[in-house]
Symmetry: C2
Subunit: 300 residues, 2 copies
């Protein structure tokens, strides 16, 4: 027997793990440099971190921070889109979207080797914890869990807090996503003990590798790095980097360090999901007749 579906289909991916450079222009300059470096390295897809245009402003609640938002399409999509076209890259960007006055989203945008927008994803699960006051800024996404088709494959694009939800990854897999992608901005409270810090970072890595396993899909997560002080005199956040590329058995293909800017490049074989799902056909055996209560808040 011959099988076209088992022929390797290698995609070189690049994840640009960055610090905040202090202004939108400086950040977009760093992103432009990173995209050029990724293209020179032969990458076909580049994943940027969450809200890469500025600091992680959700450390406090201030109406002035809404000034950072912009429409989609808008000036940032114009600049990044032009680079995607020039450099012949699929680029996954992450922006603070102003949809109208008083209506904002945390939105990821995909370009497919073109200045045109191939698709957007509006973050569905919105956190709200000390130093991560996102519910103040972002209306939960209203376009659901819909993958975005590109020339390199069907992208199951999710954002940060979504990465803790197996439901999100599964819905993308069920819609035929070939790759799970997470722009993210997560870090430590500097006051936490070292053991707690290690548990948190490990948990973040494990839960995502778990989504890769459960769905037989490769997974990319691009996280922010560097310390960002709190605007209100809080403790600030030490973003933990650790951007990663996992294969469809959750195996680590590449991972970045904790504390520095890094362009993480890895080869992902998109065809391996076919063989992995043949030995572990989890989708075959889902008990959809018994899952109704997944739609409930709690079974009480």
């Amino acid at each position: 027997m011959t099988s076209l579906t088992k022929k390797p289909r290698t995609l070189k991916v690049a994840l640009l793990q960055e610090t905040d450079r202090g202004s939108r222009d400086a950040n977009l300059d760093a992103i432009e440099a990173g995209l050029r470096e990724a293209a020179a390295a032969g990458a076909g897809l580049v994943l940027l971190q969450e809200l890469h245009n500025g600091p992680y402003f959700c450390q406090h609640e201030s109406v002035d921070e809404f000034d950072r938002a912009e429409p989609i399409p808008g000036p940032s999509t114009a600049r990044i889109g032009a680079l995607a076209e020039t450099l012949k890259l699929v680029v996954v960007a992450s922006l603070f979207e102003r949809r109208t006055a008083g209506l904002y989203h945390n939105t990821a945008v995909v370009f497919d080797r073109s200045r045109e927008i191939a698709g957007i994803y509006r973050k569905m699960h919105i956190p709200d914890d000390p130093a991560f006051y996102e519910k103040f800024y972002f209306t939960p996404g209203d376009i659901g869990f819909e993958p975005i088709d590109t020339s390199v494959g069907r992208l199951g694009l999710l954002v940060c807090w979504d990465q803790w939800y197996p439901e999100a990854a599964r819905l993308m897999a069920l819609a035929g996503a070939e790759l799970l992608l997470y722009p993210t901005a997560i870090g430590w409270d500097p006051n936490d003990a070292d053991e707690e810090k290690q548990r948190q970072r490990d948990a973040w890595i494990i839960v995502q590798r778990g989504h890769a396993v459960a769905n037989g899909l490769p997974l990319l997560a691009c996280n922010r790095t560097g310390f960002e002080a709190a605007p209100d005199g809080g403790r600030g956040i030490q973003f933990w980097g650790s951007s990663l590329v996992a294969g469809p058995q959750g195996e680590m293909l590449a991972s970045a360090g904790v504390g520095a800017r890094e362009l993480l490049v890895a080869d992902v074989d998109l065809a391996r999901s076919e063989s992995v799902r043949r030995i572990w056909p989890f989708l075959r055996d889902r008990r959809i007749d018994a899952y109704d209560d997944l739609l409930r808040r709690f079974r009480d």
Copy 2:
């Protein structure tokens, strides 16, 4: 502020990772010895491996193997229940249940320091892969994902193949389970390459630790160990042991080796889920308005 909910509530658990001893009586003798050892070590709960009364007979399809099945309650529940009562243990057993002629299940049984059965769980997700021909033997469970209340807590009991399904763990968490438990029997095809073997074992560990993280729950998995030859001249299975205890951030609390019988004992603080879920309140933010398609086979 004082909080009763954050006071430690430590449960000493024991996982009895065993080989097949060649007969039901020999296996139950080994289980009796293990339960006595666990009780002497101060354990309050003992988890046994999947189908612990015999070999993993699903390596082939043979009508004669149905002779191994027994009713519940039946002789094995009588013997194990008596030990649970005598030794004052919560015991989680795993049996081949004969419900009637031509209707069999892979069923886990809980005893709560009593010879009475506290509850059963019938394996919901049934695998069928080369050397794991379970669809021939086991009718998929028809009592759903319902935790079992015991004196040591509400047990989210699942079995083996269920461990690959985030849906199963989530449904138990939503029903108030305080602990996820998996009797299991998984191993390697001896012909697989070492790297593939490592990926498979790692994936099995990762996906389960991921359930612990996603649900903020501790998790126990008790796996079989030892090589079992195939009755039909196949390659046999090298069960990989590696039984594990994880905490509610997916942190490893204890893990057994690959190749030998082991009684794995660990302390689990059931109260830690409260504090972990306060910093990571995933249940708060589930998008139950957007999860409908989890009830579909595929979104095509």
